[in-house]
């Protein structure tokens, strides 16, 4: 009795974890029963969450052991505080020790939790350092981005450090969020209420077009699971195809990224809207209405 697919965007983090991994395989670390909550929020008499808005643990993806980190966008916009950040860092360091097939990082976050200011900022840099350690150990980190909060602020940077980004059309990646840009630079610079514009600049399709996201999938947990499974199961195969195998050559990865950035710099500075880019690429003016499958097909045809 299912209608559409099970929406990734609308699911809570716990449901995502459950549906992404092999049934019943997940075991959580520092789960909500331990009630490790934020001391900063408590000091401000703000509501706390028993898992501080992030779920970490281990499980199986198509029978391969993986470490799972999933932010809950519905608690404080998935923002990173001290405990939240420590849980992510701890899970990453555990990966260095246990050597799972991959780390799945389900990002759904506006960035640093403002209530925790410096502690949150420090947490972000600790996450980055731990992430490098995981990559150094030859374990790919796969970002899954499709929640309502997207991946912004510090978590936007973390996302771009990952080996692979699987994103839905509804997913977004950015540094400053649209509202922040509008507040600082004015509505002429960026109208945050123009939802169409926001998605044409930060959304999954434009990020995939620019090569910043690796794969565009439907807003469907099963589609995210299938895409992630492909990377873990035959990971060398998939990653080799793209020349991005961090387990064998991190220099190569960096060079590829450098090349990509070089290509970005050559883009016309006048392009301030995804639609302009798509039109120039010959994708027409209906890109937003293409299904991810149609879009991927058209884009791959252009890329090859």
């Amino acid at each position: 009795m299912r209608g559409l697919a099970q929406s990734y965007r609308e699911a809570l983090a716990r449901l995502r974890v459950q549906a992404l991994l092999d049934p019943g395989s997940f075991s959580e670390w520092v789960g909500p029963t331990q009630r490790v909550t934020s001391p900063h929020l408590a000091a401000l008499e703000a509501p706390v969450s028993f898992d501080d808005g992030v779920i970490v643990g281990q499980g199986l993806l198509h029978a391969h052991p993986v470490i799972m980190i999933a932010q809950e966008g519905q608690f404080n916009g998935g923002a990173v505080g001290e405990v939240h950040g420590a849980k992510i860092r701890g899970a990453l360091l555990r990966a260095v020790r246990d050597k799972p097939g991959a780390v799945l990082l389900c990002i759904d976050s506006g960035g640093v939790r403002l209530h925790e200011a410096n502690a949150g900022l420090i947490a972000i840099s600790e996450i980055m350092r731990a992430l490098f350690a995981v990559q150094e150990a030859g374990i790919p980190v796969i970002a899954l981005i499709g929640g309502a909060c997207g991946a912004f602020g510090g978590m936007g940077i973390v996302a771009r450090l990952c080996d692979v980004i699987i994103i839905s059309e509804e997913g977004r990646i950015g540094l400053s969020g649209p509202e922040v840009i509008e507040t600082v630079k004015g509505v002429e610079e960026f109208d945050s209420r123009d939802r169409a514009l926001v998605w044409r600049i930060t959304g999954g399709k434009i990020r995939r077009t620019l090569g910043e996201a690796t794969l565009l999938v439907d807003d469907d947990i099963a589609a995210f699971r299938a895409a992630a499974g492909e990377m873990v199961g035959a990971r060398s195969l998939f990653l080799k195809k793209r020349g991005l195998n961090p387990t064998t050559s991190s220099l190569q990865t960096l060079q590829a990224a450098q090349q990509q950035l070089g290509a970005r710099a050559e883009l016309d500075a006048e392009i301030r809207d995804g639609q302009v880019l798509w039109s120039r690429m010959g994708l027409g003016d209906q890109v937003s209405l293409m299904s991810p499958e149609q879009f991927n097909r058209r884009l791959e045809a252009l890329e090859s």
Partner: protein, 552 residues
């Protein structure tokens, strides 16, 4: 045979009409009026005390004509009696503030509800009555016949024939009543064409037309973004489908315009299909072309739809589905409020809609303090047509239930109210006393503005379950049945537990579990579309949503 008896004239109205036309001659060329001459034309032909209909519907508004009338000199034009469906525009209110109009008979005042209430309190307006649409249309032919009507059309040709486009709405009934009782018909059109796609109003019924400076504004009132449908609404929609549509075999129906009923529309192709209900329920509709109906149409649930008016963005989709919608030879939708209301009243077995307040007798009202909203069409559709003669399975079953299991001489329409127990924090949907009573007192009305009369309501659906009021055998049972689905509202908390359990044993109150519905299944994943974009995709790109609903 007395030669001294004064000769009685029988064409007084026609002579008056002639005089009006002669006075307006300087301001028109044939039937065509220039925009700059419109105010002078109105000042010339209108007489104090005239009954005037300014076409204003749910959607289409004769906005240029309303503004022209409001710009008339109150010395020359005053004390008009407005007889019209909807008071929607600021210009409508201005007419009363300036004294151009004094009396009002109407149906609905959505956006101007607050200002209207203030006019009443400052005694700047006399309200004749608040009508349902059909009542008002009926009175156009009895005692409220307009002397001058001002309507909105899509296009005119040089001779004055009118093309109404997809939004026919009230125009035919207004023009019929005016033109055939020696009245003056004035139309504002969006464009003048050499050749009309079709003639909806013949030129001989039209006295003047003007090409308005801007096309008449149409609001997308019937577009519900599926993004905002909640899981509670999904649960209630599941109950309505399984507990009412399926049980009674409801094939002909009308839906309200809220998110509750949009949820039902979006559950038909998923949940409805899984229950094997395709072809058995929800086949024929009196409904505007709701975008949320697209998935059910595409899935083959919906066979036919007749509409009151159109909906912005649905033009191409409707034109591509002529088997489903009523369309003209030009391909565009043919809507008609008067006929569709009649269909909703007499030819449908079920009405379901939401409301703001329900009392212990089941009376429901959308009136809140300080606002006079009126009714529109819901009371016509949401009432049992006592004069109905033709039978249907749903109508007979409902009639039998009301009659204690016996076959009666008549059946009963299913009139369903679907509400969440709390509308919003602090505002329960269930109340001991409707705000409508206070409003009646404050506004000096003859009656409280009740939207749906309690004795017409057959079922109330909330997240707590369904109350079947047809099966109640006393006012006490009815009250407890309502309290029994009122949840944690004060009305619900005051229920008699034993009585409510008894009602549940008898199937008068049914909880989701009693219907075999697992509340954990009620997720948004059941919706056939979760966003406007899903609707566009379901329509194969034919549905073109207005800008405010796009995020691409």
């Amino acid at each position: 045979m007395d030669a001294l008896q004064p000769i009685r004239t029988w064409n007084h109205e026609a002579l008056r009409r002639q005089a009006r036309l002669e006075r307006s001659m300087p301001f028109s060329r044939g039937k065509a009026v220039a925009t700059r001459d419109m105010v002078s034309l109105l000042e010339a032909l209108l007489e104090p005390g005239d009954r005037v209909c300014l076409e204003g519907n749910n959607q289409k508004q004769a906005d240029f004509l309303a503004e022209s009338l409001a710009a008339c000199s109150p010395q020359r034009v005053h004390d008009l009696h407005l007889v019209q469906s909807v008071l929607a525009l600021p210009a409508h209110i201005e007419l009363f503030e300036k004294g151009i109009a004094r009396r009002l008979d109407f149906s609905f005042a959505g956006p101007q509800a607050h200002r209207l209430a203030r006019l009443v309190q400052s005694r700047s307006i006399e309200i004749g009555a608040i009508h349902t649409y059909l009542e008002l249309f009926g009175r156009y032919f009895i005692d409220l016949t307009p002397q001058v009507c001002m309507v909105a059309a899509q296009a005119a040709d040089a001779g004055g024939n009118l093309y109404l486009g997809a939004n026919t709405e009230d125009t035919p009934v207004i023009v019929e009543a005016t033109a055939f009782k020696s009245g003056i018909v004035i139309a504002q059109v969006n464009e003048q064409l050499e050749r009309l796609p079709r003639v909806d109003i013949p030129a001989s019924w039209v006295d003047f037309f003007v090409v308005a400076p801007t096309p008449n504004h149409i609001e997308p009132l019937f577009t519900r973004d599926p993004r905002h449908i909640t899981e509670i609404q999904v649960l209630m929609a599941m109950m309505a489908i399984k507990g009412i549509y399926a049980e009674y075999g409801v094939e002909r129906l009308n839906h309200g315009i809220g998110f509750d009923t949009a949820a039902i529309e979006l559950l038909l192709p998923t949940y409805g299909e899984s229950l094997g209900l395709k072809g058995k329920i929800a086949r024929y509709w009196a409904l505007n072309p709701h975008p949320t109906l697209i998935p059910a149409i595409e899935a083959g649930f919906v066979e036919r739809v007749h509409s009151f008016g159109s909906e912005v963005g649905m033009e191409a989709y409707v034109a591509a589905r002529p088997d489903v919608f009523f369309t003209g030879a030009d391909g565009s939708l043919r809507s008609n409020r008067a006929f569709c209301q009649t269909a909703g009243l007499y030819a449908c077995d079920l009405f379901i809609g939401s409301t703001l307040q329900i009392d212990l007798e089941g009376n429901s009202s959308t009136a809140t303090l300080g606002r006079i909203t009126g009714f529109g069409g819901a009371p016509n559709m949401g009432s049992d047509a006592r004069g109905r003669r033709h039978a249907s399975a749903a109508w007979l079953k409902a009639g039998q239930e009301k009659n204690g299991g016996q076959t009666s001489v008549r059946g009963q329409k299913l009139v369903v109210q679907t509400v969440e127990t709390w509308r919003e924090p602090g505002h329960p949907a269930f109340v001991e006393r409707l705000d409508a009573w206070q409003l009646k007192q404050d506004m000096g009305m003859a009656l409280p503005p009740i939207m749906i009369y309690g004795d017409d309501v057959s079922h109330i659906v909330t997240e707590e379950g369904i109350a079947n009021l047809l099966l109640c055998r006393s006012p006490e049972e009815r009250e407890q049945a309502i309290r029994g689905v009122a949840g944690y509202t004060p009305v619900g908390m005051a229920r008699d537990r034993a009585l409510v359990e008894n009602l549940r044993d008898r199937g008068i109150i049914r909880r989701p579990v009693d219907m075999g519905i697992d509340v954990r299944d009620a997720t948004r994943d059941l919706l056939a579309a979760r966003s406007i974009k899903d609707l566009v995709r379901a329509s194969g790109g034919l549905y073109q949503p207005p800008k405010q609903f796009r995020n691409w």
